[in-house]
Amino acid sequence: MTSSEHMDVRKQVQLSFRKSLGFCLKGISYRLFRSSLTLAVVVVAVAFFMALLSEGTMTRSIGKGVAAAVLDLREGDLLLTHIFYPHSTLGLSRKLAAAHGQPETLAEFAQVAGITPEAAARLAGQCRLENKYLSFFEDMNIGKRMVLVKKARGREVFTILADPARWDEFTRNLANMRSLRLPTDITTMRAFVDNWPNHLKSLEAARAGWAATVTGLQTRLQALTGGGDVADWIAGARDAEVEQWRQAVVAAGFRLEPVVMLRLRHLLTLASHETRIARLLQSDESRKAWKESFGSLPSLEEQFAQVNDPRADSLLGGSFTPQQRVAVAANFTRAQQLRNLEDKLPVRRTSGGEPAGFLDGSQLFLAVISFIVCMVGITNAMLMSITERFREIATMKCLGATDGFILNQFLIEAAIQGMIGGTLGMAIGLLVALIKSSAIFGVSVFVYFPALPLLLCAVFTVVLGVLLSMLASIYPSRAAAAMAPMDAMRVE
């Protein structure tokens, strides 16, 4: 360098992320012990959170599965109720409100009730409004209700509000109650109230139409079945007879596809067999006979679970094939299992019948506390690591490391620790939750295994671990970056 050469001072170069990462990894691999302490903190916090989260997820999945299975078992009953149950106008209104926006169900209703599909759709719309208003008044507290509609109950409110003076009072009071929100706008409600007598009339007409069709259907079916129990008749009927039965139902306007009929037949047959077996087992002679051949007399439930035993055959008078007995026993056992599971499931439901959120209050509180402890732990460990390495950091700054580089080093280190700790913690938490859940629910955990939601939980917790770790090391990293390079000169 000659004197004429002007010294050129520029900004220090910025190192690439790849280089920074490599540098950091090298450091971590030689400070495994210190790193593992920080790691342990992350692992514990994340494991705790993951255990809470995945246990909740599994319980919810089992709950959903059980609910669906129970509905499945009751499908036969539900179908029969749908066809034969005579509705009140209120019941019909609920049914129609639920069917709103489902053209197939509405078409079926129109057919059975003898009205046009358009009229059915219109009626369903009105029914939906009716139910919304009814539950609006049901859900509010009694004081507000007294102010708004006095002592009117249920559908009475619509007749009361038809009076213009009462309506004015109602709207005035409603405007003062800021916390109340009408499910629709006020004009829609006014129109509904005006239309109320007409609505009730057409609802009544539809109900009468439905009831007439069902009565007609029942007479026709009775001619076919001889007036006995439907389930018993179907259990013993031939294919052609069952088909006749189905045709009659379809002719009345109901939807009943052959596939559904097959399922209905299966379920009703099972139900019929169950009733007959129960009746047979309860008689005195058979109880005695059971005791003789089995050596003991258990409860009816346990007897049911054993009807697939060959010894039970003669007790039942040989009137059931082995397959039938096996099916009854299996069905019974399954129903029992579902009941058991339902008992074990936490009753945690909000007013709407919807399952509660991801974590309940106390669990959330625990999770937040664990995070705070984790953050304090990481911050402390990081600060100690910086104090230990002050000379190294200061030396690096003497050798040309920028503040940004130092900051990056510590943040990258934190992210790596968060990732490894998060993954480990996630695995441990999942394992703990699995062990705990399977101790409570047994194999059902794997029957209703919520693979996808658990995967989401896993990803979420690992990301959380990384974020947590990085968040906790922002302060220590900044402290490291702000360290004075002259500290490198210091001698203890």
Binding site: K11, Q12, R391, C398, L399, G400, A401
Partner: protein, 254 residues
């Protein structure tokens, strides 16, 4: 023959110039004058020793000229650049390429090999990895540790570690080598080897060296000695004069 600055400066160009550098510290309510108006030029290719008792302001002076701290008053010029005017990134640039630091306690990165330590400043300067490796090996060869490139600081003696540190300081071919008591942690024999190395670097490669020391052995190899007492330059002597004095006193270095 007393030291004459004008005589000495003849034909030399300065690398570093401190003009009226003053540094005050506030310690509680009392103000400490660490440096009082220091004026000093460091010339290219010279080997300057800074001597002085502990607490004399030597370290503070080093921090000023090393771009690690800024003076309360006065200026420090590196060639023509006023270091007080530089921002953090420019200072990092300066520290990376223009100044080499050798510390009393070596300050090698304990997790890295000798070669990695030497190439560290080159990494910071953005040099290509292959070039850095080649230059790092050449520097290790120069300090006589070529065959130990893959050893970590723990596996090396103090003298060897200081050699690695010197190689690291030279990584980006700096204008100035700042040594802060480089032999204080070493025994006499090893210390002398380090002196020899610094001397060779100065004479053969023309490296400009400023060296703070308590070690009188070092005075032999340097050009000028600056005595700092109580925050100001007490006197400047030429090494050749000092040696004559010492010889005349009958003090003989073994």
């Amino acid at each position: 023959m007393p030291y004459d600055e004008k005589e000495y400066a003849k034909g030399r160009e300065f690398v570093l110039r401190a003009v009226g550098v003053r540094k005050l510290y506030q310690r509680g309510t009392e103000t400490v004058h660490a440096l009082r108006d220091i004026n000093l030029c460091v010339y290219r290719g010279e080997y300057m020793c800074v001597m002085g008792p502990s607490g004399s302001g030597k370290s503070t002076f080093f921090n000023m000229v090393g771009g690690l701290d800024s003076p309360s008053k006065g200026r420090v010029f590196m060639d023509a650049v006023d270091m007080a005017q530089l921002n953090a990134k420019e200072l990092a640039f300066l520290r990376c390429r223009k100044i080499g630091y050798v510390f009393q306690s070596y300050n090698l990165n304990s997790v890295m090999t000798a070669l990695d330590n030497v190439t560290l400043p080159m990494v910071f300067s953005g040099m290509h990895a292959d070039d850095a490796r080649a230059r790092g090996m050449a520097l290790l060869d120069r300090v006589g540790l070529k065959d130990r490139w893959n050893h970590r600081p723990k596996e090396m003696s103090g003298g060897q570690q200081q050699r690695v540190a010197i190689a690291r300081a030279l990584a980006n071919n700096p204008s100035l080598l700042l040594c802060d008591e480089p032999t204080a942690n070493l025994d006499i024999k090893t210390g002398r080897e380090i002196h020899q190395l610094l001397y060779e670097l100065n004479r053969q490669e023309g490296v400009t060296i400023i060296c703070a020391t308590h070690d009188y052995n070092m005075l032999k190899v340097c050009d000028r000695i600056v005595w700092i007492v109580d925050g100001s330059v007490n006197r400047i002597e030429l090494s050749s004069d000092l040696l004559i004095e010492k010889a005349s006193l009958g003090e003989h270095d073994e």
